[in-house]
């Protein structure tokens, strides 16, 4: 097991290094120049050259890579080419916002996804099952940006209601305002993972319900409720937890569009701006961060499986 773990961790490190190379290269290949965007139309070529020199953007590419990646290793994420802001402090400011959005989203996902999955499995091929399944498949189909736009505008138009849009309020200082700000976007974000979790819970539960030991339990005269709660659900929850774990990975990078629409300044909105404006350090560091969350959560899931099921280690 230890060997396996070491091998997997080394592999994850290697993949992240690949990611850093890829994102660095792609950012360099992109057309455009962030200094030009920031300096505006009156800037002379001399001014642009001076700005590029000051930011080290005309150093040889490998030098720039080493400087950036070296910084990453010492937890210095670099500076924005547009306003010189430290990416590290921007990250610290924005991470809690994206984290809270993710936490809310996961809460809805689990709160609604699992129970409805269970209902769907228990009432298999009856009306509740169809309703739940159809709702889930619909939730997967609605474009989030569309729903978010409507959810922001229509309440304003109908009732004059809008959440505070200037900046995210702290959950500790203004919990109610915070809920007004994070509730709707997290609900929209949770639609897709909720549907996945629900569908998976249903199928995993159905699978377990078909197994011999459940039949035995039933034959012993245990109530359906006891069978499902004590035996079936426990055994079917593992793949569900896995899927939830993988959803976390996707969400920790923040949501590009939803954050922008609700003006929650998390990591997603920041990455989007940075990619558009070719803001090197911001885009590189944050994409690497999202890569790291994906890779390490995958790793955690794999290791957990490896621990639970020794056969996987040798596969």
């Amino acid at each position: 097991m230890l060997n396996y773990t070491i091998r997997r961790v080394a592999m994850a490190g290697l993949i992240l290094w690949f990611v850093s190379l890829v994102v660095f290269t792609l950012m360099r290949l992109m057309p455009g120049d962030p200094t030009l965007l920031q300096q505006g139309i009156s800037a002379t070529p001399e001014r642009i050259a001076a700005e590029r020199a000051a930011q080290g953007l005309d150093d040889p590419i490998p030098v720039q890579y080493v400087r950036w990646f070296g910084g990453i290793l010492t937890l210095d994420l670099g500076r924005s080419a547009l306003n010189q802001a430290s990416v590290t402090s921007e990250f610290k400011r924005r991470f809690p916002i994206s984290f809270e959005l993710m936490a809310f989203t996961l809460t809805w996902t689990v709160l609604f996804g699992i129970p409805f999955g269970v209902i769907s499995a228990v009432k298999r091929n009856r009306a509740p099952d169809y309703v739940v399944r159809l709702t889930a498949i619909l939730a997967l189909a609605i474009p989030g940006f569309w729903l978010a736009t409507l959810l922001l505008i229509l309440p304003q138009q109908w009732w004059g209601y809008a959440p505070p849009l200037d900046r995210a309020r702290s959950v500790f200082e203004e919990p109610l305002t915070n809920l007004r700000q994070f509730g709707p976007p997290s609900l929209i974000l949770s639609f897709a993972p909720m549907a996945s979790v629900m569908r998976l819970t249903r199928s995993a539960l159905l699978e377990v319900l078909r197994t011999d030991y459940i039949r035995t339990a039933r034959a012993k005269g245990l109530s359906d409720r006891a069978v499902i709660m004590n035996h079936a659900l426990k055994n079917s929850i593992i793949p569900v937890v896995t899927v939830i774990g993988l959803q976390v990975a996707g969400l920790l990078g923040g949501s590009v569009i939803i954050e922008s629409i609700f003006n929650l300044n998390g990591l997603g909105a920041y990455i989007f701006q940075a990619i558009l404006q070719k803001d090197f350090a911001v885009a590189q560091s944050l994409v690497l961060y999202t890569g790291a969350t994906v890779v390490f959560l995958n790793l955690a899931v794999d290791l957990a499986y490896g621990y639970l099921d020794p056969r996987i280690r040798y596969a």
């Binding site: 992109m30 057309p31 455009g32 120049d33 962030p34 030009l36 965007l37 920031q38 300096q39 505006g40 139309i41 009156s42 800037a43 002379t44 070529p45 001399e46 001014r47 642009i48 050259a49 001076a50 700005e51 000051a54 500076r79 924005s80 547009l82 306003n83 010189q84 802001a85 921007e90 400011r93 924005r94 736009t149 922001l152 505008i153 304003q156 138009q157 004059g160 209601y161 809008a162 505070p164 849009l165 200037d166 900046r167 569009i257 954050e259 922008s260 629409i261 609700f262 003006n263 300044n265 909105a269 920041y270 989007f272 701006q273 558009l276 404006q277 070719k278």
Partner: protein
């Protein structure tokens, strides 16, 4: 979303409070001067120069009869990025924050001739008979605001002005005011602590407008100038009416009243926020729900709808210097052919643009847009000099053997509208237009390097007729052959220079018209499509609100107060 185009952003930078998505320019009109005097601007010195009304000006608010109340926050919104606030070289520099925190010798705008000239750091100024020596007398009570950046809280003096001028004239450091200093300024110095002298190479008509501009004229404490350039991008310390409280990408700029401000009465506001949105829908929802106090749009219908739907919201329609243009590079065979350039111009049905995009609000535009009044060619003359003539355009395209034109445009939410119209109008005369969208960042880089062959652009607004004509002058808009059409003639150069150095106003106006006639006759490679309008919405609880953005408006915020 964040698909706002570069020019929009530049335009925004120059104009404090407009939505980027619009591509429109500065509002020309604002408060009538009387309104301001009525509400207590007595402490401001009387301008030395005679006010020169350049354009029709709308009265935006009735003079407030009430006694101003101190306190309250005024909140604006903008979409885009907080892209650094260096007062001398960043596009964000001119918007909102910078002009409130730093000082200017004075504020002056052609388009706000109604307001004359508003002194700030200078208390008087004069130009010698030679027409080139300018002397500015400074006030002695402009104390630098409290700060934790190590800038001493002393009075600003002539040395700060000289150091700021030096930075504006320094080629590798300066961007915004560089062209003015390089082309026109001979030297400047400080004979004593209260006096600054500036000598131009020859008489120039727009010295006051350049010095009095948000983006160009910021006077910065010398100790703050001595800090690393990165510091000036991230923070601001000055003796202006407000001081910086926070600036953060995504959240915007927050300012509070400068307790040391030389006018002890003003500003009336406690705080001034410029909130950062990523999406114009969000910004508008913030307006409708009363979370911001003002919003500018180029779409009159949208503005009217919002006014109708929102209690307390007032609409002011103003002129604008925003315009669209079609840019061609004449070392490319296709655009070298004057017939093709003329055909492009003739194929444009400008009335259709105005109807569809401006909902009727908008004007035909020559090289100088019509809000500049007598500096611009009249509508009748424009229609004669650049007529819409589909049949003739078709003939010219056929004669030149052109069946297809390709052009680039930046991606933005409004661009599809313009492009749709152009494609349709060209199709009507048998020419297939192939628009190629380019991401704004990529587009501007290629445009800057003159690497595009043709482009439909939403252009920045500008402050003087002079800057408008730089597109047609050798060296182009930066003077360094960027955004270069490669189409210049010595005759037109001479006419533009002559107009700029003609001081008597009536003659100057004639000179500008002459230059523009020559430009239009030459089948220029930079065609103005039309001049957009501007619509400002604001809540009527904001007293003394000034709808004409720009330098003058930035000066007026000290008179704002909230009647709540």
């Amino acid at each position: 979303m964040a698909e706002k185009n570069y020019w929009g952003r530049v335009a925004e930078a120059r104009v404090s409070r407009r939505s980027l998505m619009r591509g429109a320019g500065i509002g020309a009109a604002g408060l009538a001067g009387a309104a301001l005097i009525g509400c207590g601007s007595k402490k401001e010195s009387t301008p030395a120069a005679t006010p020169k009304a350049a354009a029709p000006v709308a009265v935006t608010a009735a003079p407030s009869a009430k006694q101003p109340k101190k306190g309250g926050t005024f909140r604006l919104g903008f979409t885009g990025t907080v892209a650094g606030i260096d007062p001398h070289n960043s596009v964000f520099g001119g918007s909102g924050g910078v002009p409130q925190v730093y000082n200017y010798l004075f504020r002056r705008e052609v388009l706000r001739g109604d307001l004359g000239l508003k002194y700030d750091l200078a208390k008087s100024h004069q130009v010698e008979k030679d027409g080139v020596t300018w002397t500015f007398k400074l006030r002695t009570d402009a104390k630098i605001a409290p700060n934790d950046k190590g800038v001493p809280e002393r009075m600003l003096d002539s040395e700060d002005v000289v150091q700021s001028f030096k930075r504006m004239a320094d080629k590798p450091t300066s961007a915004n005011a560089y062209a003015f200093f390089a082309a026109w300024v001979d030297k400047f110095d400080a004979p004593d602590k209260e006096t600054v002298r500036l000598v131009t190479k020859k008489p120039y008509a727009w010295v006051e407008e350049n010095i009095g501009d948000n983006l160009k004229g910021a006077i910065v404490p010398k100790e703050w100038l001595a800090k690393p350039a990165a510091d000036l991008k991230q923070w601001a310390v000055g003796a202006g009416p407000f001081m910086l409280k926070s600036i953060q990408e995504g959240e915007g700029i927050r300012m509070v009243r400068n307790p040391s401000f030389y006018d002890k009465e003003r500003p009336y506001l406690d705080a001034y926020d410029i909130l950062n949105f990523k999406d114009v829908t969000t910004q508008r929802t913030a307006l409708s729900s009363g979370q911001i106090d003002s919003y500018i749009t180029a779409d009159p219908q949208e503005a009217k709808d919002l006014e109708k739907a929102t209690k307390g919201l007032k609409l002011v329609e103003t002129g604008s210097t925003g315009y669209n243009s079609f840019w061609m590079r004449t070392d490319v065979a296709l655009w070298k052919d004057a017939r093709v350039r003329r055909a492009m111009n003739m194929s444009m049905n400008r009335d259709e643009y105005i109807q569809i995009i401006g909902k009727g609000l908008g004007k035909h535009a020559g090289p100088v847009v019509p809000v500049f009044g007598d500096y611009a060619l009249s509508d009748a003359e424009l229609k004669k000099m650049q007529p819409f003539d589909a049949a003739e355009a078709k003939k010219l395209f056929e004669a030149a053997g052109v069946k297809e034109v390709t052009f680039t445009h930046p991606t933005s939410s409004t661009m599809p509208d313009y492009v749709n119209i152009m494609v349709k109008q060209l199709a009507a005369i048998g020419v297939t237009a192939k628009p190629q969208p380019l991401d704004a960042a990529a587009w501007v880089a290629q445009y800057f390097g003159s690497a595009l062959t043709a482009s439909y652009s939403l252009n920045q607004s500008y402050k003087t007729p002079d800057s408008a004509l730089l597109w047609y002058r050798t060296g182009g808009v930066t003077g360094s052959n960027n955004y270069d059409t490669k189409f210049y003639t010595p005759e037109i150069d001479a006419l533009i220079d002559k107009a700029g150095s003609t001081i008597p106003e009536a003659e100057r106006k004639t000179a500008y018209l002459e230059a523009q006639r020559a430009i239009l006759k030459s089948d220029p490679a930079f065609i103005n499509v039309f001049n957009t309008g501007s619509n400002t919405l604001y809540y009527d609880k904001v007293q003394n609100f000034d709808a004409g953005a720009g330098a003058m408006s930035a000066h007026m915020t000290r008179n704002y107060w909230i009647d709540a």
